[in-house]
Amino acid sequence: MSGPNDTKRSDIRSYAIGYGLALALTCLAFAAVRWPSFASTTTFAIVLGLALVQMVVHFRFFLHISLRKSARDDLQLILFSTLIVILMVSGTLVILFNLRARMM
């Protein structure tokens, strides 16, 4: 059993780790665009990858979503929302880009 001061310290540590990681990922993404060293599609892929990692960092350290079993299924709701988002966004993009290609 840990004392209240230990939980306080670990609560603060979670936010501090998240802040540090998020700061580093943000700076990397902006640096990749500010000083481009790859082809533009590669740079965009890097930016998207960093954004995805940063979102996971925010969920983990700021929103405290983790893989441990919880009474409420927050993680399952996130995953379900993600599924809906992927279906709708990729569906929209595929159909409308295809339409544009045919109209050209």
Partner: protein, 208 residues
């Protein structure tokens, strides 16, 4: 970790205030449902933006309109405000007096308004260049997406003021604590939406 279980997204009060922790589970989960549906709205506006991106009608283009430095500052400000709100939640959970809590919330509020000021300055510069929503499909979709996030931040800031008044009026009772938990989820969620905005909208437009 103490015996109390993890009940909801965000900082859990277990170990510090078990009575409120019992009530918080369903109250916070309901708000989490709202946030996830809000995320779907944002995602579809992103899809619209992606489709509309080439539709500039030989008007202003992303590369002309976006400036990397103000966006970087806005990102840092919003990220820092997320951290300071985290510190406010920790103070709410662990401190008996509400002095630290009010302090951290004030810092968060100032950062929120600083973000809004910078963003409005950007939009004003775009309007000055003739980049207004009715100019092209690209600009319509941009002004549907980015200002919607700004409006969220604005109402989040109003909400911070309301909660600060609640803390000073009612002290830290269970209802006020649950309000702060929900506000925390909202504020961190806005930062996650901003990650998508600066990556997909601003950085994509600035890549050469």
């Amino acid at each position: 970790m103490s015996a109390s279980e993890f009940k909801h997204a965000g900082l859990n009060l277990g170990g510090a205030d078990e009575l409120t922790h019992e009530k918080a589970g369903s109250a916070v989960f309901g708000f989490w449902l709202f946030l996830m549906s809000d995320a779907v709205i944002f995602a579809l506006l992103f899809a619209t933006y992606g489709v509309m991106l080439p539709a500039t009608v030989s008007g202003p283009t992303p590369a002309n309109e976006y400036k990397i430095l103000p966006v970087f500052l806005e990102t840092l400000i919003l990220l820092t405000s997320s951290f300071t709100f985290g510190m406010a939640s920790v103070a709410m959970k662990h401190e008996a007096s509400s002095r630290q809590l009010i302090g951290w919330m004030t810092v968060t509020l100032v950062l929120g308004f600083a973000f809004l000021g910078l963003e409005l300055h950007d939009f004003a510069a775009m309007f000055g260049d003739g980049a207004y929503p009715t100019r092209s499909g690209y600009l319509s979709s941009f002004f549907a997406l980015a200002p919607l996030h700004g409006i969220h931040v604005f109402f989040g800031s109003i909400w911070i003021i309301v909660v600060m008044v609640q803390v000073m009026t009612y002290r830290l009772d269970a209802q006020v604590k649950i309000n702060i938990l929900r506000l925390g989820l909202f504020w961190h969620f806005l930062d996650i939406v901003w990650i998508a905005i600066f990556s997909v909208v601003y950085l994509q437009g600035l890549i050469r």
